[in-house]
Amino acid sequence: MAQLDIVDVGHAYAPGAEEERWALKPLNLTFESGKTYALVGPSGCGKTTLLNILSGLVRPSRGRVRFDGVDVTALPTKARNIAQVFQFPVIYKSMTVYDNLAFPLQCRRWDKARIDAKVQQVAEALDLHDRLRQPARRLTADDKQLISLGRGLVRDDVAAVLMDEPLTVIDPQLKHSLRRKIREITEQFRPTVIYVTHDQYEAMSFAQELLVMKDGRAVQQGTPEQLFEAPSSTYVGYFIGSPAMNFLTVDHGDGPFALGGRPLSAAWDVPASTLKAGEVQVGVRPEHVRIVTDPGPNTFPGRLKGVSDHGAQRVLEVEIAGQPVRAKTPRDQGVPVGEEVLVHLPRAKVLPYADGELVLRS
């Protein structure tokens, strides 16, 4: 297990392209030893490029990659001591499960007894110990993915385990259980894991920290809770959470914000001097929007436009001052009678955004 440092790394597939068009814009990152990370973003966001730079498949146009302080930028995959789980399950077809797991150790010329002990230990954790003698090609796709993971885990010294959308070809039905299994195993062995996915569910359920990427940039890094509670940009607010965060354009003078002529206070004060002339928005999660019966501070008259029944929750579509707001309410709260409603936006949960970026508390 190692700490991975990305120092000023950027990459362009077409040499000489201007920086705006690089697949990965120069960035600095640190992946701490023994933690699990997810790189998440839509296709083309640069997450796969970053993964390939870590695995040595792509040599970055600039910057250095360090594993535990050692510069590995110029080293090929083979010399980097990483493990990788691919989108499509990769196993050695001609070998048994046992031989598949033992293969990396055989390549390293470990002695037989040591290999055996290690393989047994890992197979136990993967729940494959009763199938060690079976030909690996007979296993189902999800078990094959576990073998791929296992081939990394048998090596005590593996620097990091990279996973490239490992659930892509797994039956929807089995995705949950495999994801759960992978998580349990990584909790047990604690390798440094970097997990690439386009699926927010997967990323948030799996990783301790997420790195949200967009257009070749790392937009925000943080725990799932941080991304949910304080998205650094309107993009993250949209990307993380379902339904997405509500964003309302507000008026700002010298005093507090105003929405539809009524004052709206946010979680923290934003000095007018920090705001340029650009658009100012506030963001509030649908989970935090409340339909109330009594007027009060941060409470606005709204118009109920529609109701979506999601089962245990309902999503109410409300319009405040001509802007749509969604509120997620528990089912047993029922649906308000009539069109006119009062909407409360709890002050502590209303975050200010200027030009799409969170305005930091000064």
Binding site: F86, F88, V90, S94, C107
Partner: protein
């Protein structure tokens, strides 16, 4: 797709019937003629029982040609496979001018075997051909390639290898090009060297293509006769005769139609049985069944 039963035959039947009609008449004809004494002096569909078959069983020239074919086909196909696979591996990925090499290595299979055999005949010519010229330049003595049985067989094999290694090369290269990248990356990550990667990754992944290529070549090689006709005419004596060529001599040149028919069918059954067994053995050896 149920409810479409009426339509499915409309697609299949034209092709199936055409082939059936083209094949079935000759087959029935051959079966019938094999029980007759039809020959050049007695062109009649009489009935003489299994006499022709008894004669085939005792025809040592026929059985010698069968043995020869087994060695010839087995040997050349094996060599074709090894060279074809080797060349495909060499020009598979990074290689300077690989597209040029690929085209060049494909050319012989495109050329007409009999036509090229005629050229080969000039190449192996004892005094005027370049092979002996080359040997002499190297300080060796020339070899009477086409007039002594050992060298004649060697010449025949050389021509076969030249002609058909490209076919192996084509199938195997196409197979290699369709392999996914990931297993090779996984092997690199696991620390496998070149030889281990070949043995544990490339070769197993190529097993289905390999089996298909070898079986197809064996089928085609079992019919070897055109090149023999042009190159050695089965000679000297009958030392390079293949069953295909011997059948031609008996059935067509000497017009022993009845006897030739019996021999054809014996040969056909032998080939079908042998090739089926070989295909099954290869398939099992590479554990292709039950693969997901």
């Amino acid at each position: 797709m149920d409810g479409l039963r009426r339509h499915k035959s409309t697609f299949l039947l034209p092709g199936l019937l055409t082939l059936f009609l083209i094949i079935i008449f000759p087959l029935l004809f051959t079966i019938r003629v094999s029980f007759s004494g039809w020959n050049v002096s007695n062109p009649q569909m009489d009935f003489i029982g299994g006499a022709n078959y008894t004669a085939v069983l005792h025809d040592s020239r026929f059985w010698a040609s069968i043995t020869r074919l087994v060695l010839l086909a087995g040997g050349t196909v094996l060599i074709q496979y090894v060279i074809g696979f080797g060349m495909a591996l060499l020009v598979w990925r990074e290689a300077r001018g690989r597209r040029f090499w690929r085209v060049l290595f494909l050319v012989p299979m495109m050329t007409t075997p009999v036509v090229m055999a005629a050229i080969w005949q000039t190449i192996f010519h004892e005094s005027l051909g370049p092979v002996n010229d080359l040997l002499e330049m190297l300080g060796l003595t020339g070899i009477p390639w086409l007039t002594e049985s050992g060298p004649a067989l060697a010449a025949l094999m050389t021509v076969e290898i030249w002609q058909w290694t490209p076919f192996m090369f084509l199938l195997l290269l196409a197979g290699l090009l369709s392999l996914p990248k990931e297993p090779f990356m996984a092997a690199a990550i696991d620390g496998a060297g070149t030889w281990r990667t070949f043995r544990k990754v490339t070769f197993p992944l190529m097993a289905p293509v390999s089996v298909a290529a070898v079986v197809i070549r064996l089928i085609e090689a079992s019919k070897l006769s055109d090149s023999v006709y042009v190159l050695t005419s089965g000679g000297p004596g009958s030392s390079t005769e293949t069953p295909g060529y011997y059948l031609y001599i008996q059935g067509l040149r000497d017009q022993q139609t009845g006897y030739g028919g019996a021999m054809s069918l014996t040969y056909l059954v032998l080939m079908i049985v042998t090739l089926t067994v070989v295909a099954a053995l290869l398939t099992r050896a590479f554990k292709l069944k039950g693969d997901s």
